[in-house]
Subunit: 450 residues, 2 copies
């Protein structure tokens, strides 16, 4: 790849709660797609380096209406549920899995179907600025490989897990690993395949050990997956304390909560991402922090399947690595910008409470709100930290995973007003009203994929 | 206007909780823009009438990916706050008004500024399928006229109110009616102007008596406005029981709640729309129903400014005419489709509760959820009923206020799957993921304005 530079207004959030806004910054990207330097407009070398890049025909100049932002990092997404997105939202978690979701996921034994759906999904996510996605695939090995191949082909940073679920008491006959051993073997096989996959020499696509959640796995499976994670130093993802039902199920079966239980099986490491985690206690938070694991907050799906709002403020205040997930199809929107907004509003709901019949002082949990800067941090820096990858910021040493948002495209609800909008406000308006049409360029590892 | 017909799949919700889905329906629109007949595909005259319309070059044929839906009815929107949309969301209602909103609204004394902003707003709303909007303008007469003129010019069904606010204790010196009398005179003047306005012979644009809310008005003003409403048989709009502060303010000042107080001033009639109404009691609901007034539920702005979620399920179950409002800029999104989704999720938050530290049985208000069909009803039929206008359905005798949503446009997150999506699901997916690009045609009173 040829090295290049981008000249334009850069907005990102390396530090929780703060924005770094650099007008006319020069971002240098090296031949391997990493950011080698970020020069402020007033830095000594800025003018010379800009001129040089221009001369070498290696300068991308943004217009006044264009902003360089980090790409979005989606920490939780069920690829096979894509056709169901926007439907099947009327049932509680357990019934939704049994009646709608497991039957749909079972269809991915058909590789052609997998190919069609996964291509559509990855294209849509890229169009929405999602440069990294942490995917649950299905129980099937070959279709899971196909998802990884599609990520490579389309250039997205995809982390892909074959879903492990072998517990006959909780998984239907038509959608369950053939045996514990088969589930473990297929998990290993996918890890090896992705690591050796043609076109993936740079390890842009990564394998993930993926127990669906404790209810769907036998203890033997959880133990085996913990061992694989350790041996292979692989990422791990699973659902954690998602709903009353799931949370209580684990307490009943293991005599402790999800976090502890996962830790006991060796599944809570610094490359682990726990989806949801609505019902984690302060002790759980401490354990998660101590182990360096991350949390995928899925604010939209909380409303449908979690029975409560994840206390994002509290988790952030404790220093946890919290990112955002769409949780397609539990969350019916593929845009992580949209989920930033829902993260803000759901935190306000938690702070204020929702029931007007209660007195104000009994209604909510004071001090629970997060603001748009913190939501943006979660969608970018927080996601990168949760994954232990150098992504989510436009800073030296980070991968060039970024997007350009243009506030001046036609047919858009994103409208800024020069006389009243400072750059902080522009970002806020981008979060609230940019849609995929406003995202005019997307890079992953320096490769332009939109 | 030349009569015409539309042939295509019609989806609307004349009855709360039900969808009427008519594939290949023939909708006949007469020369005044009203729907003269809707013929089902199996009706006797369907084939002949279709052939006849085609022969007369008066047939619009929708493709398989296009759906005919009623236009969206936005029951609550502050036109002057458009530049602020997506910003200024960090303060509680009282401070937000004083620090951000009143200073912005004061700027509309400048007619040129008003012209620029209002044109942008009305265009954006039309692009998003909003065929009818119930607008708060500002305290200024001429700029309020301008908003009405822009609605006429662009073809939107606009209901426009000059905001009345004369209470020196609650309104700043720089943004207040010069006197009670001036406020009343300007209200009358706007009513007369709109009713006589060139181009508005069909009364597509209507005037609205608009006390901002009780705190901002003296009793004399409220009394005078009630008299004007009665004399002129005009629509009325105001905020009702929006936040703890506002609700308690009225109880303290008038010894009763907003609903009763407004009724005492003659402001609660069958053409009244009450915005928010979060804290209304069951007795208030009964009074609102008895008077035939409507409610503008603004689910997105609830999170920022209302301290609670409006109990939509309860109000609908009591038979109230509830529609939806964006509440720009208290709600930072101009799309009523988006607000349909938020209406669903906020009702789920009310049902389930939000605080994971509470036991499940103490967390929420069971039975509070609404579903997407009910949200769609509110955005269309409910809005029409609240306004006492024949809009919101595609039925004989209703105005042809409608839109075409195309699920096959490129660069869209709205994706349907023939093998798994029935038409009910298609509508659900439209609500969740259609954006303005999917809205390919908009009619108001039979006039195509997009």
């Amino acid at each position: 790849m040829k090295a290049f530079s981008v000249l334009g207004t850069l907005i990102h959030a390396p530090v929780l709660g703060e924005l770094e806004i650099l007008p006319a910054a020069l971002v240098e990207v090296d031949g391997s797609g990493d950011i080698s330097a970020v020069h402020r407009s007033n830095s000594e070398s800025h003018a010379n380096l800009t001129a040089q890049a221009r001369q070498e025909d290696a300068l991308i100049e943004l217009s006044d209406s264009q902003y360089l932002l980090p790409g979005m990092i989606d920490l939780h997404i069920h690829a096979p549920q894509w056709p169901q997105m926007g439907g099947a939202l009327h049932l509680p978690l357990y019934d939704w899995l049994q009646q709608c979701t497991f039957p749909l996921e079972a269809k991915y034994a058909d590789l052609e179907f997998a190919d069609k759906v996964y291509s559509s999904l990855v294209e849509t996510l890229i169009a929405n600025g999602t440069t990294t996605a942490l995917y649950f695939a299905t129980i099937h090995l070959e279709p899971s490989k196909r998802l990884a191949e599609i990520c490579v082909a389309k250039g997205q940073r995809g982390l892909v897990g074959k879903v492990a679920m072998d517990n006959p008491a909780e998984c239907p006959d038509f959608y369950r690993d053939a045996s514990t051993e088969q589930g473990l073997d297929d998990t290993r096989a996918l890890i090896n395949y992705i690591r050796e996959m043609p076109g993936n020499e740079s390890a842009r696509v990564l394998p993930v050990v993926t127990p669906r959640f404790i209810p769907s796995c036998t203890d033997e499976m959880l133990k085996g997956l913990g061992e694989i994670a350790k041996e292979t130093n692989c990422h791990v993802q699973t659902h954690c304390s998602e709903s009353d039902w799931e949370h209580n199920y684990v307490i009943e079966r293991h005599g402790t909560e999800d976090t502890n239980s996962l830790n006991n099986f060796g599944l809570l490491g610094n490359k682990t991402v726990l989806a949801h985690s609505n019902f984690i206690s302060e002790a759980d938070m401490q354990l998660i922090k101590q182990q360096g694991s991350g949390i995928a907050h899925c604010p939209l799906s909380n409303y449908y399947f979690s029975n409560a709002v994840f206390p994002a403020r509290k988790a952030l205040d404790q220093g946890l690595d919290v990112g955002l997930g769409t949780d397609i199809s539990g969350g019916p929107n593929p845009s992580l910008l949209h989920n930033c907004n829902v993260a803000v509003t759901s935190s306000r709901a938690l702070e204020e409470g929702v029931n007007p019949e209660l007195p104000a002082e009994e209604r909510g949990v004071p001090g629970s709100r997060i603001n748009f800067k913190e939501a943006f941090w979660m969608a970018t820096s927080g996601g990168g930290r949760a994954l232990d990858l150098k992504i989510g910021q436009i800073s030296e040493g980070y991968a060039m995973d970024a997007m350009v948002v243009d506030t001046a495209v036609s047919d858009s609800n994103l409208i800024t007003w020069d006389e009243s909008d400072d750059l902080e406000n522009v970002l806020q308006k981008i979060l609230y009203n940019a849609d995929r049409n406003n995202i005019t360029k997307v890079w992953v590892q320096g490769e332009q994929i939109k």
